[in-house]
Structures are given as C-alpha cells and as structure tokens.
Subunit: 262 residues, 2 copies
Amino acid sequence: MPIDARLPKEIRADIRAGRLNAVTAGLAPGYVQANLAVLPKEQAYDFLLFCQRNPRPCPLIEVTEAGSPEPVGVAPGADLRTDLPRYRIYKDGVLADEVTDVRPFWRDDLVAFLLGCSFTFEWALLDAGIPMRHIELGKNVAMWKTSVQCRPAGQFHGPMVVSMRPIPTALLSKAVTASARFPGAHGAPVHVGDPAALGIADVNKPDWGDSVGVRAGEVPVFWACGVTPQAVALASKPAFMITHSPGHMFITDLPNHALAAI
Amino acid sequence: MPIDARLPKEIRADIRAGRLNAVTAGLAPGYVQANLAVLPKEQAYDFLLFCQRNPRPCPLIEVTEAGSPEPVGVAPGADLRTDLPRYRIYKDGVLADEVTDVRPFWRDDLVAFLLGCSFTFEWALLDAGIPMRHIELGKNVAMWKTSVQCRPAGQFHGPMVVSMRPIPTALLSKAVTASARFPGAHGAPVHVGDPAALGIADVNKPDWGDSVGVRAGEVPVFWACGVTPQAVALASKPAFMITHSPGHMFITDLPNHALAAI
C-alpha cells in the first residue's frame, strides 16, 4: 500500500484541487478518517438519535451546523463538499450519481454526519502486534448483514452490519482491549466466535468484501461496521442523501489517539 | 448512609406509590442512576446535538420517543412521570413548581433525556480503593462553574461545570483509569491539579456543594459534572422544561458495569 505521510490539510488541498481522487487508504496515516452521511435537517434528528442509540455501528465524531459544510470540530477550514475524493448522490434511496464535488448539490438545510471508521481500530490492532489477514492479502475486509437489529429511531431501522477478522487465539485478549480503547471507531468486538450467533450461515461467504477464511488456531472476531448507518439510512429511502463513495473517506485533523477513551 | 438493596423496579414502585420521596443516594446500590431533562420536541434536536458535542458533562444514556414517558432502553416498564421522587418544573427558565408527579404537566411533544451521573464513577473509584472525602464527611461534592466553554449547539451554550475530589497522589493513576472506564458516567477527569487552569480562583470556595479541602499529599482532581446540561438548558430560558430535583435521581435497571467501555 503506498503511503502519503503529509498532513491531512495538505492532502485535502490536493483532493479539493482534483489532484487526488482515489481511495484514501494509506493517506495521512495516524489520522482519523471518517464515513460521511449528509441528510436534510428534516431527517437529522432521527438520524442523530439513531446514532446515539447504536454507538457501536454508528460512532459519531462530528455533526455540522445545518447548511455549513465545515466540520469545525475535527477539521476547521475543511469543506465537506470538495475535500473527499468521491461522493455518491442518492435520490429516494436510489444511487443517482457519483461525483468528485458536491457543491452543485449543496443546500442550506443539509446536515453532515461524520462517523469513525475501522482504519483507526485496525491501526490500534496492528500497533498491538495483531496481524490483519485482509491487509496482508491486499483484500477488502469481509462484511455481513446480521440477524441483530439496531435499536430504531423514527424512520431509521435495520440490521447491524459487521466486519470479521480472524485472530489467533493467543492474541484474542489483546485484540479486545486494543480496539475497546476506541469507542469512536466501533470499539470492542460485538461478538467473538460462533458466526451463527449473529445469523451468519457461512463465515467463508461474506455479503460484501472478500473472504479470507479462518485458519486452525484462529477465532473469527466480529466488529460493528460503518456500512450500517448508510445501509439503514438508504433502507428508509430518504428523498435526498449524500455519502462518500466506499473507501473514499474524509481525512480529519484528529490524530488517532484523540479517539482513545482511556 | 442507609442502604436499600432491593431491585430498582421494586424501589421505583415505592416511589411511584408515594411511599418514598427522599434523595436516591443509597438506593439500589450497584445500579446506574440518571439525571433527567425533559424538553419539547422543538428543542430536542439542539439539546441532543449539545450532548453529542459535549459527552464528558452530558453522557446520554437514553432518549425517549416524543410523548412517551417509558425509557425502554434502560428501564422497560418504568414511567418517567412518576418514578422519580421529586421533580422541578421550569417555565421560561424560571423554577415554577416542585412536585412528586409530573403527569398533570405531561404533553405529547415532550422528549426525556437521561444522563449518567457521578454515582457510577464514584462507585468505580471506591471499588478501586480510592477514598471519597465528601462521602466520608457526609457532605455534598464541591462544584464550580469553569472558564471552559462547552461547544454550543443551536440555542444551547454555556460553561462546563465540574466537581472536585481530593485524591492522594499515590492513587492518582488509579483514579484516572478507574473513572475512564465509564464514559457514560462522565469518564476520566477533565483536569488534574492547578484549579486556575479551569478559572477556579479558590479551591476551598465552591459555587455549589460543600468544601472539603485539599490536604498535603493530595491533588485536586476535576470531573465534568451533570449540573452542566441543566444549567446550560436553563440559561437559554426554554418555555417549558422538567428536571429531577437535585439528588432525586431516576434509578435505571442497568447495573453499573453495563456502562463500562472496557
């Protein structure tokens, strides 16, 4: 994976100017990257409440003022309309467009939600000496829709989505404690072991991403996944919604350790 | 302090029936008690966002559906209109009434917010072997308005309120880690040491509660305080608001360990 170790604001400037438009893995390592969901103010209370009620899949790190594209808490001066490499525009819950600049779509009633992403806890796991099979293989992490329902809020409801990483049993404790320190990036695993407990029929057949298998001496460990809030929001078919394109995240000014709870 | 070790729902039934109407310290030890703030739906988005932006002073543990007095997430079957020993009714930000039953004041547009309280982290500190001077002396904890401004949201803004506990230097690390495990109950200290850093002129003259002093070999340790959200909400003079009366908390069904992040 190529690494671009410049500061977040330098990389965002390149993205804004159109000089960078690929996935953000490997960019500004050590800094928090975030999922983006933008909804009209009319839906914002229910979505905010949904996130509050489901903090594992939906760890909120920033909510903008209605109409403002500036995430003042996590990246003052940034512009959420231009500073992500790629966006998706949804109308009535259907993908309508994929663009690199959402200024033409912006409205005075839009609220942007930024949610912590797995990059932060994967950094914590790697830093604790825990190998990540999908990274070693250059694959996407495996993800499943589970039989666990999120706690609904207003129009938003749906199942929790999880990602799975095979962890050697000797490193299991460390994987739990290392990720638990980062509730702002999905936190501790939501389940360890038997996939059937989450309604997952075959741990080798993910609903999204790539299968990497579970070897002898390894346990499948499941974390809540940031795909959940987008899937849940889209399932309610909002008239208008903007998200980042998969893998094309917003890079904040927060160092990863800023999300550490302890 | 007299202890009533029955289950929360048994104690709530006594409160509901008018057989108990005193402060809730010592009731159902081991279970999470909560601060109550009730606002019309019209103000609920801004208040929810304020809590999301200021999690240390405003650790949300439950938000009810508009019009419903049942906190289904933390005490299914309970009724927030009758199950607290004493309430305060505010009109235009001014205390208008103090009552033991708010059913006559209830409206279809009211949203109830429950916020974690210091009882949970004090339990964690005591359990870690850390003495609590104010409890030993049978006094209220000392509290100050600080020079630290909360991050505003809509109509809600104001300074953070903190409580202070003197901690022997040898136990300082343990006090930090023991409380940090409970972000749902104010979490780790917001400041350790020099009171002037928070704009506190005299650590022996609290704005509320009782002074217990800081002895040689002790450090003043400051935690964000649940007085903050009520003070902030009232400062914006909402047309209508209900809160618990000081010390007369809502007793949830959650064991304290349910709020542990790690």
